[in-house]
Symmetry: C2
Subunit: 149 residues, 2 copies
């Protein structure tokens, strides 16, 4: 059996990160950064654990990928993230000049597009990869967190 | 002689941080976070030193202030920053629900307002405090960095 390194493959890795966040009681969002077929950074949301609003999965993945590369620009890289980035994360991705961003579930409320923020003009955006799985995990988290009673 | 703890006083402290960035060859932007008359976080841009586009002065100041408070929300706090925040930093300030943001020089190119990003609706914005000093330091930095020859 050969492995197909496509967008679904890498989004599954991001979903594994989201599941790790879920297990810690964090809003389950995960991200990986990829060059070619190689994952160079993995991260999940840690805002509660670190008591820090800046600890979104994407922010940590950007910092980690830059550390791996030894440069602050992520040209040639793709970020896979389970939820549409917020304006903070879109802003960080803007500065990184990352080549491609692939996200799962849309965030029509706090997503960067709804908030009016922008990715870098050179960044290619793809949305909706395994969106159902990503959204399902988020719904499960918030149902558990805010029970109806 | 009594000290007046006004916006100019705290912006001068942010400018001292910007000067520290300048000395390190970093784009000179500095920030402090204040509760009442007390500075609880000081930071300056370290994107080159840390090889990390997320290392803006405001991002570090938010993380540091949250660590001091022991909570991720910065209600009751004011951030003073020498340059208008970018969309990444505005996004982080949005999540922090900070009470007040005071900036010095406007950034008509990459500032959060030009980019379409938003602060939290509860955040009060004041601009132009010691703008000349902040802009002057930036101009001096870029003149030195990009000599005309």
């Amino acid at each position: 059996m050969t492995t197909t390194f496509d967008d679904e493959y890498f989004m599954k890795k991001a979903l594994q990160e989201a599941e790790a966040a879920y297990e810690k009681g964090e809003v389950p969002v995960g991200a990986v950064v990829v060059i070619g077929d190689r994952i160079i950074a993995r991260a999940h949301n840690l805002t509660e654990t670190l008591t820090d609003v800046t600890a979104h999965a994407e922010m940590q993945a950007i910092t980690s990928a830059s550390g791996f590369i030894g440069g602050k620009y992520l040209k040639g890289c793709t970020l896979y993230v389970t939820l549409e980035p917020c304006q903070m994360c879109a802003g960080a991705l803007y500065w990184s000049q990352i080549s491609r961003v692939v996200f799962g579930a849309e965030d029509t409320d706090r997503g960067f597009r709804a908030m009016g923020a922008s990715l870098h003009p050179k960044t290619i955006l793809k949305k909706g990869v395994m969106a159902g799985e990503a959204a399902g995990l988020l719904q499960q988290f918030f149902r558990k967190k805010r029970p109806r009673h």
